[in-house]
Symmetry: C2
Subunit: 646 residues, 2 copies
């Protein structure tokens, strides 16, 4: 008999060799139908694998990432079987589960091309195979046998992979007529693979190396129920419509240029205005909350980064140093603003009475990313952090946390991010030597963060061992309009840089003391945040953020003079307004300008000229009646006030 | 007989061998006393040098730089004679005239140190020698004789210089007991050197090479009248008081850090606010005038600068290219914003109806300067240009010039720069092949600039041959409060980059056309402009630019609560305000805060708490009476409106 310990701590005795699936069945047949994988003593296993000694057991339902992983990994094998049956002689690379679904990299053989037009046939073949309820069976195999097997089959990619593995660790999985080199785990059978959809085809270099062969990558997703798949496909459609790269181009918000360089966004006027509206708004808020704004250059001498430790840690993977034509100096593009802010702190003496010092900068930083990792505005090589560093005494930390959380909650509220969670990252209490700073300070900072988060009614998860080596932190995740999670603001305590830069303040005891440094951002980066905003709003920004508040549409050229007068009055009243004085029919003008997502359309015809009014139409909603110009100015200002004064 | 042609074109006959001084005497003995040098057929000569053939002649009075140059160069020789008599065996390096006065680099010999305490004795010796009315006499000498002369004297610096000269070009000048290697020209005698002042002592490497010996550099200045010297010394004192580096430190506006790097300004909160106030103000003005704001990164691929031509032209003298850890890409810190703006222009199609496109950015650029050339904020390695590029049709250029000039005049007026001139730089009509662009376009652009400048009543000088190869330009020079001239705004036509970046617009003929590009700045750079503002205002910024508008001074701690309430109301009303709640006497608080040059001091005592008022004191002026808080808010807002709405 063996003892199985369940997640709630309860224990039960079973016969040696029992499987997780059998245990689930004993608990309840319904449960057995809902589980897809199991964690046995910390390792994720097939449900059917026999358990031969005492173990802890956690059964994974669909909600668990472990279940999805087994589900999608088994789906990749199913797709491979379908491909092999449709394209005999096809060679296989790797076929993993990913965040949403799975892919397989395959080599269809010379002259054979798989396109999206072929996906339906493959999908149908998969459905046919899945319906046979094929069993996934696991087999340990020696390295020699494995090499023999795949050599005979002619699968050169698999033999290359096997040649790098250690003998005694190799396993194969077989379902139906298909056998794959694989660590598992897998589902017991193909039976749960009820809803299947192949999504796209792409090229992918074998092992990500551009000097190796380009394979064909086929992406797919599967679900245990058709309803879940349908929902996902709707979500995918929705996400595609909201793609900030697509909207950014349509609404002329930003662009990229090959000549300037990949991952270096060029903000077009409309996008630059949205970005600046955010900066102006946040700056005003920061000033009210006692922050001081500084401005620092985008490069620093390498010595700055030797002092900070960044050079040693990240230097090799960064944009490389900048030499000078004379004098042998070397500079780095700044990857973060903190070292510059430490030097500003050190530029003047500080007394305990002057702290906290809240130093903020919208600082553009440069970090090298491989071109393949770049993605629109969410993964770039240059981005502007809404950065701040708070230098304070230990006894002020708690109030500073409170102030930062208040600010973050205020901003989230204004931007309608009402669904968010926070993660508290603490140090690993069993590995204290990994962290810099005294026990006493860590305990105090961790307690402060947890208590303040509770006081502010944040929904938090607390994770030990996830703190940075220099201090504990609190990260905010928001859910957008279609349920995707984005990490935005972060608050990080830092006991490291104050040491490295020898930051001090004069205490009430007239001795030198070390301040604590808190790094914090709210948006994270302006680039990423604008991308999130675009995807969340489909580019229909709230009025206060919109680059233009209104567009004037004269019904015919006769009214252009009056329209020009209205334009001037509005722009001089700081209501940024456009005019569409093309000689087009008013219907077309309205349709064209609705697409630009400018919040208000002001129609001008005979009646408006006579009465010195404008006919106001709200984007996406329609007619809002007539107003005189000053009424419209007041209306816009009061609408904006409503949005940003919650 | 020889014919002498005067600047007005008149000609007179003189005996061969006559000197410029003799000609001046024949014209009028008064004139002879007022001239210090002459330009003879384009070369600057001693007044006493005989003229042996037909020549043009211009006599130089004190106002001419040529006169000052001869005057101060002769003074350097006089100082050398004084030094040699006081420090026998002293060796001499070089002793030129400079923009204001002269210096001599000398090697006093081992163990002898000259300090500022010694200057008076040297000055007195100079006065004694000058009173002897010593004659400066010029002598041609062979290279061998020159080497012999200075070898015998033991002047190794002079022999080094002579060894590099060509035989047949060497001249000596002698006055009294001192003979120097020198090209001249000099005054006829020491007689006009009536007012003499030695100013300072510094170290200077021989030939500017840090591996050679450090010599002693003595600076001085002289004038023909004591009154002129007195005025200059007052000016020097005034300039010293206004030095933006000194005031920048006192008022905590900006700083530099060795670790960040020389010439890379760190803007402290107060300086950053002044800079931002300028940016916010100008941005608002730009929007009203139809500019679009863009935001671009601070680096660009080297290919961008190969396209623009900057790489070939400036690459070797710039910050060197930035490599990446992978993918073999190379980037440059951007030395200007125009190539990025051209790429933005090219990101969307343009029709003749959309032009002009006025694209503005406060773009921070990076240019390498040798450390010895750096000076406070006026000569830096990173600076933010208030840059704009106007893309327009040829027929729109005239209106665009007008618009830019209007903007510049408006900004100058607001900043009280009422004394300014403009320089029009045209191409050299005899060297048309040096310039890019068609004759027709150049002629039109030059005519437009000249006519528009006249229309706007600008005081202009027109200089041919000073245009850039890519187009004509108009530069603005302003005079500050103590009469110094600063070059600020510039307007430059560019026919080059539109070609290199293949910029086009779709004409009314539905053909592709090339737009003209106009570069323009108003401030030049934010760094340099803030420096000029500091020196012009001694750091006493106008209210709208001041980082804080007021500071609250409670008379005693009893009033701190009410003071805190006032502080909050003012800050929430966007009147940036500080509080000085130290437990100091009110007299000291007033004195301390007057020094910070915060425009208004708000005193709070018993009476103010009772009446809910503040006692308003204007910095540098004193009591302005009592106001309630809302009155003060309105007062500040109306004062600011007066300043910036001219």
């Amino acid at each position: 008999m063996i003892t199985i310990t369940f997640p709630d701590g309860s224990q039960r005795e079973y016969n040696k060799g029992i499987s997780s699936l059998e245990i689930a069945e004993q608990i309840s047949p319904k449960l057995a139908k809902e589980v897809y994988a199991a964690t046995v003593s910390g390792e994720i296993w097939d449900l059917t694998r026999p358990i031969n000694s005492n173990a802890s057991l956690k059964l994974h339902k669909w909600e668990d990432p472990e279940a999805k992983h087994a589900f999608w990994h088994s789906s990749a094998h199913l797709m491979a079987e379908a491909l092999e049956s449709l394209y005999p002689g096809m060679k296989f690379g790797i076929g993993p589960a990913i965040e949403n679904g799975f892919y397989y990299d395959v080599d269809p053989g010379d002259g054979i091309v798989i396109t999206e037009a072929d996906l339906l046939a493959i999908e149908n073949k998969m459905k046919e195979l899945a319906a046979k309820n094929l069993i996934y069976s696991r087999r340990d195999i020696s390295k020699k046998e494995a090499l023999d097997f795949f050599s005979k089959k002619g699968d050169e990619y698999k033999t290359e992979l096997i040649s790098e593995l250690e003998d005694g660790t190799i396993t194969l999985y077989t379902q139906g007529n298909f056998t794959d080199l694989c660590k598992g785990p897998h589902l017991p059978s193909t039976e749960p693979l009820k809803a299947i959809k192949l999504l796209s085809v792409a090229g992918a270099y074998w092992r990500g190396n551009e000097n190796r062969k380009m394979l064909t990558r086929i992406y797919g997703i599967t679900y245990p129920k058709q309803k879940l798949l349908d929902e996902y496909l709707v979500f995918l459609e929705e996400a595609k419509k909201r793609d900030h790269r697509k909207i950014g181009k349509e609404l002329e918000l930003f662009t990229f240029s090959q000549k300037v360089g990949m991952g270096l966004p060029l903000w077009l006027p409309r996008g630059s205005d949205v970005r600046q509206n955010l900066i102006t708004f946040l700056t005003k808020e920061l000033r009210k909350r006692g922050y001081k704004i500084v401005t620092t250059p985008h490069i620093g001498n390498v010595n700055l980064y030797k002092t900070s430790g960044h050079f040693e840690k990240y230097g090799a993977d960064s944009f490389q140093p900048i030499s000078t034509p004379q004098e042998g100096e070397q500079f780095m593009l700044k990857p973060m603003n903190c070292p510059h802010h430490c030097e500003i702190y050190n530029a003047t003496p500080h007394s305990y009475k002057d702290l906290p010092l809240r130093m903020a900068e919208f600082g553009t930083v440069y970090r090298y990313e491989q071109s393949g990792e770049l993605h629109g505005l969410t993964r770039v090589r240059s981005f502007t952090q809404d950065d701040a560093h708070l230098f304070c005494r230990e006894d002020q930390m708690r109030d500073e946390f409170k102030g930062i959380i208040d600010l973050i909650l205020y901003i989230f509220k204004i931007l309608n991010f009402n669904d968010f969670t926070a993660q508290v990252s603490l140090r690993d209490p069993n590995n204290k030597q990994k962290y810099i700073g005294s026990d006493e300070n860590w305990e105090r900072a961790e307690r402060d963060i947890i208590e303040v988060a509770a006081e502010k009614n944040l929904t938090t998860t607390i994770v030990t061992g996830e703190a940075a080596f220099y201090g504990p932190k609190l990260d905010f995740m928001v859910k957008d309009a279609i349920g995707r999670k984005w990490q935005l603001g972060t608050i990080q305590v830092d006991y490291n840089l104050p040491e490295r830069f020898d930051l001090t303040y004069n205490g009430s005891d007239n001795q030198k003391h070390r301040p604590v440094m808190i790094h914090r951002t709210i948006f994270g980066s302006m680039e990423r945040f604008v991308a999130v905003l675009i995807e969340n709003t489909t580019g229909k920004f709230p009025l206060w953020l919109a680059p233009e508040k209104a567009v004037i549409l004269p019904i015919s050229e006769k009214f252009n003079d009056y329209a020009g007068k209205v334009l001037e009055i509005l722009n001089n009243s700081d209501i940024c307004t456009l005019i569409d004085d093309r000689s087009e029919k008013i219907g077309k003008k309205i349709r064209d300008n609705e697409l630009k997502k400018i919040p208000y359309l002001l129609i001008i015809g005979e009646k408006e000229v006579e009465n010195e009014t404008v006919a106001v139409r709200k984007q996406g909603e329609g007619d809002k009646g007539s107003m005189n110009i000053q009424e419209f100015v007041n209306f816009i200002n009061s609408e904006i006030k409503k949005e940003i004064a919650i």
